[in-house]
Each structure stands twice: as C-alpha cells, then as structure tokens.
C-alpha cells in the first residue's frame, strides 16, 4: 500500500547520537561521565517526488549523518524515516524492498569504487543483487546502456577504477547508483572533490538524468553556489539541527536566519561587486558542549537573553521555515 500523493521521503524528528565516551576503565579511574555526541537532533522535513532538496551546512552540522540515516548506514536513535508513506523501522514493513528504491552517491571518487573490481562488475552489482537481469547478455546490455548514459564508453567496462580521473569515477558511481532503477538518490557532496570544470559536467549530467528518469534527489553540500543551481528547496543545518528550510529562490534572494546570511556573506565575491558584508564571527562550537538556548547565539549579532536561554523551534511552512527568535519577534 503506498501513498500516491504524499511525499516520497519524510523525516520526523530524526535524531542520532554517537557514544564518544572514553574507554570504560578510564571513565572509572578518572570519574569521567559518558559523553554522547548529538550529531543530529530533531530533524524533520519532506522530499516530494521529482524534487531536489538540498541540505547545506559546514563541517559537523550533521548533514552527512542525515544522509546515512536515511539509507540505513546508521541506525536511528530517535524519530522515524518514512519512504513512500511507510515507516522503514516499523516491524511490519518490508524495509529491504523499500530500501531498494533508494541509492547513494558518495563524495570521494577515489574511495567509492572497489579498486580490485572491474568497472562492469561495479556497475552490475546492484543488477545482480536485485536480480534485474535474467541472462548474462541482458546484464551486459544494461551495463553498456548505463555507461553510455553517464557519458562513458562501453569499453570502459573492462578497465579498473585507477585508470580513470576523478570526474569519470564519479560518473561510474552514478552509473552504479542508477543500475538498480532507484527512485530516490541521496547525493553526499558528489562534486566537492572535483575540479570546477569537472563539477560543471557532473552537475549538468545529474540535472539531465533527473529530467529523463524522473529522479528525486537529496543533495548534501557545503557549497551554497552549487546548491543554487540544482536545488528546488534548501535546508540549512547548524550543529545537528535545521535552522532554515525554504524554497531555493526565496532563500537565496532573502535569507532570514542569521547563520544563512552569514554563509551567504562568506561566499567569495566573484563578481567583485565590492558590496558591504557583515564580517564573519567566531567558529563552530564544540558539538560535545553546545551553547545553551539557540546554538548560534555566540556568533549571532542579534542574540538577546531569550536566545541564550530558549532554543527556537523551526516555524513556518515547508517552503519557508526559520528557527530564530529574532525572526519570530520580527526584530530582523
């Protein structure tokens, strides 16, 4: 039973903790407490079919962890993930069948392909595991088709990953991700390790594929400019929480959360317009000891006492929500 008109993917108050305590003996001898790193806390959003939702943030904000929680590489500590209306963790659900409809593309083109496998085996793995090709001939045809689709030659199937450049390896990764006929692709910084001209090729390829195959993307990145090209909606994360979630056009034209504004201002000004920008202040705090109230308040030019005491909730519709007291109080 699937929901026809609901979102394809839905996260409800998802959270993930990592136990980074010191070894038991050390804790006993030093009297140190257990330490829990809340990498992701209270994250909720939806991704509609055919949409591209981007998650942006700097290192340590939890965006990669969210990606891994969705595809099942990490278990949830709190909350739930629904795919096509069904809870992936519920006992009655056929989670493997649902998981087959999603795939992931990784950041590092050098580590995401098995160096000892030939490219055709790498791309064919999902086909084999999911039993999508009845004969070896059919499988070979499918692999050739996929390689062509991502802009590689059929002969490339016989080669090994080390014979390819970073951009080409990322194409192989995309071919592998597509070979299982997924509907939903989680892309974890797929172009961050690539040169700028290669990045343009890969972004164009991903846009083309989305149009042709009707894919839904969750695009993780730290680069707002890249995201502005590919995303329909953007979620900004800071220290494990979503602080702003809005339609891309709206976010880039008028960012509301002070952190989003700071990120936009920090982007180097290629146009050299010389426009005045608020200087960036401070650094991301230690996630093990987050500030009280709103986690951004030590760096925020608009922080007041309420910000220091009370954590703001994400308020607003899915097309324009912000977690900020100053915005709520209409101070900015």
């Amino acid at each position: 039973m699937s929901a026809e008109h609901g979102p394809l993917v839905r996260l409800l108050r998802v959270g993930r903790d990592f136990d980074v305590s010191r070894p038991w003996l050390n804790r006993v001898l030093e009297g140190a407490p257990r330490q829990l790193l809340r990498a992701v806390e209270d994250v909720s959003f939806e991704v509609a079919k055919g949409e591209t939702l981007a998650l942006v943030g700097e290192s340590g904000c939890g965006k990669s962890t969210v990606a891994r929680l969705i595809v099942g590489l990490y278990a949830l500590s709190r909350g739930r993930v629904e795919f096509d209306g069904m809870d992936l963790a519920a006992p009655g659900t056929d989670a493997p069948a649902l998981r087959r409809r999603m795939q992931m593309i990784f950041q590092d083109p050098y580590a995401s392909l098995n160096p000892r496998w030939r490219v055709r085996d790498i791309v064919a793995e999902p086909i084999r595991v999911l039993g999508l090709a009845a004969t070896a001939e059919a499988e070979r045809e499918r692999v050739t088709g996929l390689l062509r689709q991502v802009g590689l030659a059929p002969e490339d199937g016989e080669k090994y990953p080390h014979e390819f450049s970073g951009g080409q390896r990322q194409r192989i990764s995309i071919a592998r991700a597509l070979s299982g006929n997924p509907e939903f692709l989680v892309c974890d910084e797929p172009t961050s390790a690539l040169d700028v001209s290669v990045q343009a090729q890969i972004l164009n390829l991903m846009t083309d594929l989305q149009e042709r195959l009707g894919l839904t993307y969750l695009f993780i990145s730290h680069n707002l400019a890249v995201v502005s090209h590919i995303a329909d909606r953007v979620g900004v994360m800071y220290l494990g929480r979503v602080v702003e979630l809005a339609e891309a056009e709206r976010l880039f034209a008028a960012p509301r959360h002070p952190y989003t504004r700071m990120l936009m201002d920090a982007i180097p000004d290629l146009q050299m317009t010389g426009k005045a920008r608020t200087p960036v202040a401070g650094e991301v705090p230690n996630p093990l000891a987050p500030p009280s109230g709103c986690a951004f308040h030590p760096r925020c030019p608009h922080a007041n006492d309420r910000c220091r005491a009370e954590r703001p909730a994400l308020l607003g519709p899915a097309t324009g929500a912000v977690a900020c007291h100053a915005v709520e109080e209409k101070r900015i």
Binding site: R68, V71, G72, L73, P96, R99, R100, M102, Q103, M104, F106, Q107, D108, A111, S112, L113, N114, P115, R116, W117, E125, P126, V129, L130, S173, R176, G180
Partner: protein, 307 residues
Amino acid sequence: MAAVTGWLRRAWDHDLAWSFRRSPVTILAALLTLACVGGALFAPWIAPHNPFDSATLNLSDGFTPPAWTAQGSGKYLLGTDDQGRDVLSTIMYGARISLGVGLAAVLFSAFLGVSLGLLSGYLGGRLDAFIMRVADIQLSFPAILIALLIDGVARVALPHALHDALAIYVLVLAIGVSGWVQYARTVRGSTLVEKNKEYVQAARVIGRHPLAIMLRHVLPNVMGPVLVIATIHIATAIITEATLSFLGVGVPPTQPSLGTLVRIGNDFLISGEWWITLFPGLALVVLVLSVNLLGDWLRDALNPKLR
C-alpha cells in the same frame, strides 16, 4: 599464441618484474629457491639413490666421506651416513618433507589467520575483543612451545599405533596454529581501514550480506601484506619443523626431514664424520635464507611508498 606472448611481455614490463630484475641478490635467491624446490619436488626421479629402499643399501658403504676427499667415491657425492644412505639423496628427500610441512603449515596458518582477522575487523564488538585477547595470550608464549604443546596433547590423545601415520598432520596443525596471529592482526588492521571506505558503504546500501561484502569486497584489498608475511613465514615454518624434528618430536624417523638429518648426524660429529650433519644443515640454511631474501624483496617491491 599471440595472446600468450602479449601476456608475457606485459608481465615482463610489470613493475614487480622490473624491480626483480634490478636486484642481483633477489635473482640469486630465486634461483637457489628454485633449485631447492626443484630438487625436492623431483627427488624420486633425479636423486642418485633411494635412501629409503633398504634393498639398495649397502652397510659396508657406510661412513663414506664426500667425493672430493681421499677416501670418498664418485658414487656418493656428499658421502654416506652410518647406514650407507647417500647423504645427497637423503637431503633431497628430506627437503621434500621440510618444504611440504612448511608450505602446508603456512597455508593452514594463513587461512586461519586471515579468516579470523577479517571477521574480527569487520564485525567488531565482542567477537573482535575475544579473538584479539586470544591472540594476545598466544603471543605471550613462544611459538615452539605452542607447537610442542599441541604435539604433546596429540601424542596423549591419539592411539599409539596412529602416531607415526598422523605425525605429519599433527605437525602441520601445530606449526599452523602457532603462527596465525600475525596474519590475523595485519588483516584486522587493513579490514578496519577498508571497512570505512565508501565502496564498502556503497555495497551496504546496495543491500549485500555482510559475508559477501567481507569476501568479495574487503578480502581482495587486504591480501597484499598477507603474501609477504606468508613468504617469510615459510622460512620460519621450516625452521620450526626442523627444530621440532631435531628435538625428536617432529616427523617420524621413517620420514626424516632436514631437521631429523641434522639430529642424526649430530651423534657422529664427535667421532669425526662431519659430513653427515653439515650438509643437511647447510641445505637448511640455504633454503631458509633464499626464501627469506625473496620475502624481503617482495615486501619492498609491493610497498607503494617505496616505488
């Protein structure tokens, strides 16, 4: 035919072959190893005599010194022992046992160590802790002691009649069990590194079973150092077997290895028949040294940082 010559040319051009060609020590070591292995393998056909066929033995020929001495004869190149057995032939047959036991023990050791290391590294948790503690405990005992222990237990456990027949298998087991730890530790370390790489995560997202991931994805990438360890371990295994045989708890006297020969010959050293113990000893040294040198070369040749 063209495909074969093509393959040969690519093999010749390969980095490993080039590194091999550049090192005269390695070439010499390889030739010596080849000679020892060849001599051992083809002993039944190329040994001048069969030292274990009592019909061909001539007791009066006993204690003949090597051919180049005054009392020596061309019939027995390296002389004979107390029973009239040709020393050269006994070395060749003995090398068979030594090499056979050594190789079998290393294969067993590698299989055991790699499996445990892979499971330990990939699955982690309590299994990992348990296996590593066992490894640590075992490392606090000398390998010889472990082998002696297993051998001793086997002697007690097995009926006396089967002792000789099973001695070789027990020996392989003993040496094998005494050596698995180094494989396990290395493979576990490499597995921990590979486990976090994104191609393993990709396989998990595709939905592959952990065992399939371990065997098909991780194993090929962690086997490199295993080859090097195994080559050097062959030398150690041969020495361990020789030691055990020298102590009298290794191979049965009906199938003497190089170590047994050294022991037997030792009794005659005082009375002046030096060749009976010296030549088997030399053969052992040459074999172990050349295998060790080959192992050294392989380790350096496969180390990407040194290239």
